[in-house]
Amino acid sequence: MSRAGRRDVVIVGAGVNGLVAAGLLAKAGLRPLVLERRAVVGGTAVTEEFHPGFRASTVASTAGPILPAIERELDLRRHGFDPIRPAVRVFAPSADGHALLLFEDPSRTAAELAAFSKKDAERFSQFHASLSRIGAILTPLLSMTPPRIDRPGGGDVLRFGRLGRAFRALPKRDAWRLLRWGPMAVADFAAEWFESEPLRAVISARGVAGCFAGPWSAGTTANLLLAAAGDPHSGGPGGFVRGGMGKLSDALAAEQDPEFLSNVSNLRSTGTAAMLHFALSGLPDFRALSGKDAAGALAGRIHIGTEVDEIERAYDAAKYGDLSPRPYCEATIPSLWDPGLAPAGGHVLSVRAQYAPFALKNAIWTDRRKELESAVVRLLSEHAPNLESLIVGSRVLAPPDLEATYGMTGGHIHHLEHSLDQLFTMRPLLGWARYRTPIGRLYLCGSGTHPGGGMTGANGANAAREIVRDGRRRT
């Protein structure tokens, strides 16, 4: 039992945040031990074989992005972490055979948008610039321990002061924007900027990713801003990892010695996102891409949902405890830039489908997985009619499966809902947002702490900093 001897810190759960915390604690000279319940490290950042020969990032498919400081400090690239940024960030086909493309290069996006709306094309560069500026002042928030607002001490006042200074350095227009945007519904936010519905839908989707909220729910813009703090790019998240997300975890775990034990306890939350993985014998033909560079267009995130209201309707079903008959889907085909994930000629299609609530009202999940799968296939087939004929295997991870396998209570991919009342100084609870808990020497370092889910590693890094600080204080 005492094989490892006495350790300075035991970390429960070898997800990205646990591993980051362990890595940084070890660098600070402590002896951490990470305990993981499963046989594989990474938590939700794992690459698993879901069908013979086909491997996928089973839960999280985009990489954060992991904070650059963490990547540097833990020397992740040396350990095999190889991030990929496809030139296309989003491909959003619409029912009429057209498609909207958002590129890594915002000027290309603007040119593309001109086909939808001249006005939107012009607005896009303003949007990109404003979001970049605001994202940039939010970025330091990610690696900050939230100040106490209930009983602020001297350090908190200083931290607030710093926040205030950064805020005041913004152009006045952006400062007001930041104050207004947080509490807004993301659908309103998108409508303020743009007039074309497909673009509004793509932007709105960023505010509801993983959340039990629809685009018309107030406060969903905060979720978009949170994502923008990690990656202020106007196209939304766009980083992947060669070899799947598991490679990120492997790189984090490279210098550690995980042990397999049980008992992970998580925080309360209700998930509404399901993950579906399809093993394909070939690349699906999207009607909107006939005669175009399909492999290039499909390399980023594939957004299915042309109208904001389509996404909202998908959410309505979840409110009443039912599956969306037409879920909002975000798909990726990682085998396009990482052929090793599938046998030669084959492809992996991973889909995050919303909304699929953890608790169904008049049904149990066992009966409904197939139904969800058919709904997703039907929806994607509207854009890629040959999809069904290519499917050789599949795996559905509904929220109960995400809970059972990955230990996220309620199957919530962010652990705790990203809502205004559960962010920053309120995450997970007011007074306990500083990684400490009512139990002395027990810390929280997962997605249920600031700055929430999304594979930034910031939670782990921030917690490690507090643990080291407390350790110094004690000695």
């Binding site: 607002i149 209930d150 805020f167 400062a175 007001w176 807004m184 209201d309 609870l429 007011l430």
Partner: protein, 530 residues
């Protein structure tokens, strides 16, 4: 005509009148101009049918600031508030929930549904009083500008921060959740009884285009909870003679202080010379000179209709254009020759003297909202119904009654068709929804007045029919109301002020915008600011 006023106030609604009364009391020569033949804006009483006096739009009072009642001596000017006792919610299963002002009775009633909730109700009440105590001073405050370097504004913000720190930890948590959560999520923390949560959450959606599950609605619950009459927290009432009596009392106070009030004086234009307001031009062509113009109508009318873009900074125009009105409610007023008989609690008992809330379940409320989201009026709407003639027989002929139904949702922007063609269908939906609970209602209707959001816009000059002159959503409150940088009742036009519900702290018969704006205006004229 060549008379020059110190201040011309645009709009004779309750805020315009409160504003004028305070200015006149401070010695200003004030003229109030009202477009209609009747004073009060949305706070009016009209005899729609001989002998039946309808509070056509606003129908209950609670939010009116006690300092205004006191300072303007409104009781002396004829204001008398009659109590509205309790809230009765008929349920679909034949049961009901009936909360009254008698605390012990309400506890027993809630215990009938859930013992746990009866206990929690006590705790909840205390917590809300604490929350109200924290927020109330903010209501009579001029919102600071957090982006400016003006130390006074920062000091104000700091003071709020310090008061926040002094709250007990659980109240701090409540306060933050109240500002950010949905009404249902917030109430879920206390209660388990669905109908109780549905009815309490209902006050969180009034005047907004949000559902009970939409974040931000918890704050609106508090907004409606802060009412007080004679210091009793959370009590609502009727004005004797209808809501118009409130406006008449305020108008009387203003006149006594020397203010002049003209009705049927619609304004065509606010005259602006070199970036400064110099008076107004009436639709009749008459010009009135004034040192200062103060507008109680909403900013879209004030700036885009009465002034015009070319006089205004582009940023400001852009902000005004995206200020959200989108009215979401309608009103149905009925003249009855008998009382409704509720299936779940028959008879003409005391339950008919309070509010009757058609909010049988959270799902019912949320589905009503779903209709509105996609641009149709709710087929099964949420309603807040009162029968004021039971408390104040003077407003209906003997044995007859007046019934007022506030209805949500009725979106201003319909996806299909026009309101002028759907008015009666909307009225029918309201009667159908009522008849589900009180089937005899159909036999007693002598007259029905249906106000769609389009009618509310046309009659009361409330843009898009929003009863609060703009939604009460977080991004449109406090220092963001009505536009970033212009929340202090001043405007980009010198000598032009705003004093209506589109300014902090928002709508309802509160009077606070009118009073706050008067104090800013008077401060400026004393030379504290050019």
């Amino acid at each position: 005509m060549s008379e020059r006023y110190d201040v011309v106030v645009i709009g004779g609604g309750h805020n315009g009148l409160v504003h004028a009364a305070y200015l006149a009391r401070a010695g200003k020569k004030v003229l109030v101009l009202e477009r209609r033949h009747i004073l009060g804006g949305a706070a009016i009483t009209e005899e729609v049918l001989p002998g039946f006096r309808f509070s056509v739009a606003s129908y209950v009072v609670s939010l009116l600031r006690p300092e205004i009642i006191r300072e303007l001596e409104l009781p002396r000017h004829g204001l008398e508030i009659l109590p509205l006792d309790g809230t009765f919610t008929p349920m679909d299963n034949g049961d009901y929930l009936w909360r009254v002002n008698d605390h012990a009775k309400t506890r027993r009633e809630i215990a009938r549904h859930s013992k746990v909730d009866a206990e929690a109700y006590e705790e909840y009440g205390k917590a809300m009083v604490e929350m109200g105590r924290f927020v109330k001073p903010i209501l009579s405050m001029t919102p600071p500008d957090p982006t400016s370097l003006d130390p006074r504004g920062l000091w104000e913000l700091l003071k709020i921060g310090r008061r926040f720190q002094k709250l007990r930890p659980e109240d701090q948590q409540n306060q933050i959740q109240l500002m950010t959560m949905s009404a249902v999520d917030f109430l879920d923390r206390w209660f388990e009884t669905d109908v109780l949560k549905a009815t309490m959450a209902a006050s969180g959606i009034i005047g907004t285009f949000l559902g009970v599950r939409s974040p931000g609605t918890a704050y609106v619950v508090l907004h409606h909870y802060m009412g007080e009459i004679d210091g009793a927290f959370r009590s609502w009432g009727f004005a004797r003679g209808g809501t118009g009596s409130i406006s008449e009392a305020i108008a009387a106070a203003a006149r006594e202080a020397g203010a002049e009030i003209r009705t049927e004086a619609p304004i065509a234009q606010i005259r602006v010379r070199a970036g400064r307001a110099t008076g107004v031009v009436l639709e009749s062509g008459e010009e009135i000179d004034a040192a200062v113009v103060s507008s109680s109508v909403d900013p879209r009318l004030t700036f885009l209709k009465m002034i015009g873009r070319k006089e205004l900074p582009d940023d400001f125009v852009e902000d005004l254009e995206r200020y959200k009105f989108r009215g979401s409610s309608g009103k149905v007023n009925l003249a009855l020759d008998g009382l409704p008989e509720f299936r779940s609690l028959p008879g003409a008992g005391r339950h008919l003297r309070g509010a009757i809330s058609i909010s049988p379940s959270i799902e019912y409320m949320e589905r009503a909202y779903d209709d509105a989201k996609y641009g149709r009026f709710s087929r099964r709407p949420y309603m807040d119904v009162v029968i004021p003639s039971l408390t104040d027989p003077s407003i209906a002929p003997p044995g007859k009654h007046v019934m007022s139904c506030f209805v949500q949702y009725a979106p201003y922007h319909l996806k299909e068709g026009r309101w002028d063609d759907q008015r009666e269908a909307f009225g029918d939906a309201v009667i159908d929804a009522l008849a589900m609970h009180a089937p005899n209602i159909r036999n007693h209707i002598l007259h029905r007045q249906v106000l769609t959001p389009l009618d509310i816009e046309r009659i009361f000059g409330l843009t898009e029919g929003n009863i609060f002159q703009g939604e009460l959503t977080l991004e449109q409150l406090f220092f963001l109301r009505p536009a970033p940088g212009w929340a202090q009742y001043r405007t980009p036009i010198r000598g032009l002020y705003m004093c209506g519900a589109a300014t902090h702290p928002g709508g309802g018969i509160m009077g606070a915008p009118g009073r706050n704006a008067a104090s800013v205006l008077l401060g400026d004229s004393r030379g504290r600011r050019a």
